[in-house]
Amino acid sequence: MDQFTLNLIVVGSTFALYIGIAIWARAGTTSDYYAASRGVNPIVNGAATAADWMSAASFISMAGLIAFVGYGNSSFLMGWTGGYVLLALLLAPYLRKFGRFTVPEFIGDRFYSTTARITAVICLLVISITYVIGQMTGAGVAFSRFLEVQNTTGLLIASTVVFIYAVLGGMKGITYTQLAQYCVLITAYTIPAVFISLQLTGNPVPPLGLFSTHAESGLPLLSKLDQVLTELGFHDYTGHHGSTLNMFLFTLSLMVGTAGLPHVIIRFFTVPKVADARKSAGWALVFIALLYLTAPAVGAMAKLNIITTIYPDGTAAEPIRYDDRPDWMHNWEQTGLLAFEDKNDDGRIQYYNDRSEEFAPIAEARGWEGNEIVTFNQDILVLANPEIAQLPPWVLALIAAGGLAAALSTAAGLLLAISSAISHDLLKSVFAPNITDKQELLYARISMAFAIALATWLGLNPPGFAAQVVALAFGLAAATLFPALMMGIFSKKMNTHGAVAGMLVGLIATCLYIFTYLGWFFIPGTNMLANTQENWLFGISPLSFGAVGAMLNFATAIIVMKLTKAPPPEIQELVESIRVPRGAGAASDH
């Protein structure tokens, strides 16, 4: 059986599984549709949250993201996990006790104002829509790469599958498909990782392998990696080469942003009790850590493996001849993710840092005329792993299914956050408050269909800024929703004026700062200042600005609160009631 047929069978059967789950988990009420009737086991919810959270980018690009920078990009590892501590301690249990369906609903009720609710809906839509574009394009790319279909066809197949289980099952359907998707993606990620770790270090556990001895050289793996990289003119892997301030702020932005993402928060509305919300956050982090502890190991090992493949006799000796390159390099050249150019016509592949001035004399002395791996896509480190480790073809098919599972599960969670904001926060609360539960369920399904159509259209016509939008989503979640939610719980005196002013200042300041350097609405050429460190305010990168936006939000809200009227007594009582767990069962019957 050829690879294509095998991919088709494995991916096809996972899709059949997802649709089967959707039919089994049909939603009959709005409580089913928005919150899976609050009957989800906390460990199941943990796995679903992990799948919800880990996107196509986590699955395919995370290892490469770490490996191409080394220590400096540890921000992603700490930022995307540390946010769960904030969720578990500061938000999830209280929002679960409040016992409603959406994030804007909490903000609207707590700040007793439709303006606050609408502001939150706007923030939610900007965050979730920018985020979902990346997921849809990711699904399209995964399809076209593994199933040899056009990008467009791939995207349409992905939308159809999500349409079936999200429209039919709502949160209930999404939860149980996410559980299945988590199992698929973690298996697919772990198997090749175990083999590459065994091959390089003899240790079958990749995170332990990362900190053990490189079998071939007898040196610690990371020391060996530092050594070969510096010998080729690159930065060492474990060293710190960027700005400490930016690393600090970027990590903080990712943490706070993670805790403020609506599609993650609503997952905690599905568990039966307040205690379950805390426990569930812990399990979510365990399931996420299984991948996030493996990713840096895969990245470092794959990178070392590729370099030692190119320089089989050490970096001081001649690299391999182009004609002798392994089959997997040949295969991935076809996809355009890897490309060589024999600049000095010696028939060999020279891989080194041709931008390093210190290394230039060495390169010249060796007759090298430039780095000959002209395209080295970071995704290769994950995608080519099964072939590098010479694993059977079904492992590659599993990677295809895993990548698609990661993209679909995140897309579905985002689409639910978007559609419930439209049907519950806009239609039900503002435009048509008198509709029945059955009618609202219908509207929720129509909103979902609309959200999927919008996401598909955006995926087909990506606005050309896919890379930056994720930064915007995290920055905005950090600068708008997180502070409003936290102050709503921890400050009894926080009032509607403070919260709305804070959210608006956070939203506007973060957008302005990002647009100044990356262009108005990311349109190339419209940026007012070049995106370089010299131009940044206090040297703060636009990607790291979310943490600053959050501080501005807190500060504005507190100042405005001091100058305006205190919230009415019933609101202060509401805050007291969400602070204690007792009575969450009653709220779930709402």
């Binding site: 540390g82 301690l89 990362l210 610690p220 793996l221 990371l222 205690a275 812990g282 204690v580 767990p581």
Partner: protein
Amino acid sequence: MSLDKTAQAYWAANIRVITICLIIWAVVSFGFAILFRPLLAMLPITIGGVDLGFWFAQQGSILTFIVLIFYYTWYMNRLDRKFNVDEQ
């Protein structure tokens, strides 16, 4: 204790444990892995050939986060029962 007093004492105890957990959260990530990495590197401890700060950046902080959440969960379940505000 009156109901109001109980709720206040419960909340104060909760804020105390949250503060402690968040200090640890910040120390392992922002502290050990970023700001104090150079200091930590002066210790004669290495893991897998690199300094402790690198380990905290790529593994130690994540493992600590997991422990923190489960500790908080355990502690709060006990606190809920002690103040009689748990869900029945």
